[in-house]
């Protein structure tokens, strides 16, 4: 009797255990959703990457993942995350905006976030180039041409946009190298911003101002954004001008740890960022004119990217110092506009 019972029990376990395991798997297989809060010109990149990653994740774990996107000026997006936008990952235009989340966001992510991923957490880099009208009617070749009388320069507002801060720093770095003193550099940047008729809130809005509304002679633009505008509006409408010196722009990515823990999305969100460094994603980035961080892919696509001297932000003091000195309230940018 007892034996029969034990055998029965075993049989039951043998029958039900796999079913129970399957049930557990099924729980794991529930589709998951995550939110990537990004800066303005990455719409096309992440639309494609999200499909790529969804396939990768499904093949690897059998789980369906939907990645939602939110785009806007990098500074503004950081602000929203600080105010409670439930981002699982942030992919912003510059490290400072993620630092702001770390310092003001109530421990949303650790202060050393930038060490968590390779290449300073910048899976792709970019630079600032000039987009001009076909055949360059104003003969714009380098930064000095931007401060000429009557040249209209389109660039967004550095207070809210990442591209604008990189552009500003590129101009500053150029003038500092060429004219030798900070005083001269400030004069240079001041006369440059005197030539800016519209300060949009974000990079994409500036691009639309330039290409769609036809305002301005030159757009200071992300390299990738300039190529995209060219391919969207026809190769015969615009030319890209590469200045002698520009800035090495490192758009950074980070896991918003506190939000992912709350939402139970740590694994998928971490994989999402790590996978940005995969060959496949690096190829995708290169195809959209983001400079890949993977040396092999970068070498393969070297001819897609102009060779020019690139200033690192560390040479100018790093983002923390730069932000305080130039873009904080009462900083140099405010002084320029007060004049």
């Amino acid at each position: 009797m007892m034996n029969q019972f034990i055998i029965g029990l075993f049989a039951a376990i043998m029958v039900f255990a796999p079913a129970a395991a399957r049930a557990a798997d099924a729980v794991q297989m529930l589709p998951v959703q995550m939110l990537n809060v990004s800066y303005d010109p990455t719409r096309e990149l992440y639309e494609k990457y999200n499909a790529q990653f969804a396939k990768f994740w499904l093949d690897k774990t059998g789980q369906k993942v939907t990645v939602r996107q939110s785009h806007g000026g990098s500074g503004k997006q950081a602000r929203s995350v600080i105010e409670g936008l439930q981002a699982d990952v942030v992919t912003l235009a510059l490290a400072y905006d993620i630092d702001a989340i770390a310092s003001r966001g109530g421990k949303l992510l650790p202060a050393d976030w930038q060490q968590k991923l390779p290449h300073n957490s910048a899976p792709y880099t970019s630079t600032i180039v000039f987009l001009v009208r076909k055949d360059n009617p104003r003969q714009i070749r380098d930064w000095d041409d931007l401060v000429r009388e009557g040249v209209e320069v389109i660039t967004p507002n550095p207070k809210s946009s990442g591209a604008a801060r990189w552009s500003y720093m590129a101009a500053w770095g150029y003038a500092l190298k060429k004219y030798g003193s900070e005083e001269k550099a400030q004069q240079f940047v001041t006369s440059l911003y005197k030539n800016v008729p519209v300060l949009d809130a974000a990079a994409r809005a500036s691009t639309t101002t330039f290409v769609q509304r036809g305002i301005g002679d030159v757009l200071l633009s992300w390299e990738n954004e300039a190529h995209l505008a060219k391919s969207e509006f026809g190769q015969d409408q615009f030319d890209i001008i590469v200045p002698t010196i520009s800035v090495l722009a490192e758009p950074c990515v980070a896991l918003v740890e506190k939000n992912t823990i709350k939402r139970g999305t740590q694994d998928v969100a971490r994989a999402y960022l790590e996978q940005l460094y995969s060959k496949e994603a690096q190829e995708l980035a290169a195809s959209l004119y983001y400079r890949p961080s993977d040396p092999e892919i970068a070498a393969k696509h070297a001819n897609r990217f102009a060779q020019l001297a690139l200033i690192r932000i560390d040479e100018l003091g790093g983002w923390d110092a730069v932000q305080k000195k130039h873009f904080a309230d009462g900083g140099i940018f405010d002084q320029i506009y007060a004049q």
Partner: protein, 290 residues
């Protein structure tokens, strides 16, 4: 006007009213107004549909069936479906209180109802972000209890309610003031209960003005951009209403789709206009039945 013409001392009107001025003056006035309205309203409306149909009707229909477009339309309907009934109830309650009772602070209440008209929508959105955002005490408590207000649907609803709440009350207050309280008093004397009083006497008296207010309220709720933009967080497929989705599409160089979705809002506005005209004729007809 009616009172004027029925006074015995008014001279009989002959061919044209003395304030109408010479014919050329009228012609100039009318032409300017028509041209002005044509430029400011007619042309843009035409442009919306021209741009939307630039790549043909199929492209137009496709743009309206995209995942994000459908989500935006659904969200807008949900937000309006919550905000409008809320303002309907609030509008009736506030107008009732203001016109049928005397109480301290009545002027203040009227001023407060008008507040959303005088505050910039962006500022009102920002106030909700500051109030319910993660950096406020209230926001922190809400987060700890897993309640998401800003950057989620509740925030959109609250912002929309705020910007649309004067519409119903502003329509009802003047009418109810004019109607006075006699009919209600009579009903009470005849033994009506509170609900009977409301449904048999007050509501029939105000129904056209109420409908009109609800219509305007709805149009604004669906078209609101500023306040909603600040609290939305712009998550595609989740917190983008129709106007926000139009902006996103435009920023993605997707001009046909942007104008196609914008045409939905335009059609809605035209429909509102049509209903408004119908209601106005009902409203002002002297033989209307209660």
């Amino acid at each position: 006007m009616n009172n004027m013409s029925s006074t015995p001392i008014a001279p009989p009107v002959k061919h044209r009213s003395p304030i109408a001025g010479p014919p050329w003056f009228r012609l100039v006035l009318i032409t300017t107004s028509v041209l002005f309205i044509g430029m400011l309203i007619g042309l843009p409306v035409a442009a919306v549909f021209t741009e939307a149909l630039r790549k043909g009707f199929d492209a137009y229909a496709d743009s309206l069936q995209g995942e994000y477009a459908v989500a935006a339309i659904e969200l807008t309907l949900i937000v309006a479906a919550i905000a409008v009934p809320f303002n309907l109830v609030f509008g009736i309650a506030a107008s009732w209180a203001i016109t049928k009772f005397e109480f301290a602070g009545k002027q203040l209440l009227i001023t407060l109802i008008d507040l959303p008209f005088s505050v910039s929508p962006v500022i009102s959105g920002l106030i909700y972000v500051l109030l319910f955002g993660a950096n406020s005490a209230l926001g922190e408590w809400l987060m700890a209890h897993d309640v998401q207000i800003v950057f989620a649907v509740p925030g959109l609803v609250i912002a929309t309610i705020f910007v649309t709440f004067p519409f119903v009350a502003r329509e009802l207050i003047p009418l109810m003031q004019e109607q006075g309280t006699e009919e209600e008093e009579a009903a009470i004397l005849l033994g009506a209960t509170g609900w009977q009083l409301f449904f048999r006497v007050t509501l029939p008296n105000i129904k056209w003005a109420l409908l009109y207010g609800v219509l305007l309220c709805n149009a604004r709720a669906m078209g609101e951009f500023g306040a909603v933009s600040v609290v939305s967080g712009h998550i595609k497929g989740e917190t983008n209403t129709i106007p926000l989705h139009v902006e996103i599409l435009y920023n993605e160089y997707n001009f046909v789709a942007a104008f196609a979705v914008a045409s939905i809002l335009t059609l809605l506005a035209l429909l509102t206009l049509l209903l408004k005209t119908l209601l106005e004729s009902k409203f002002s007809s002297p033989t209307r039945k209660h």
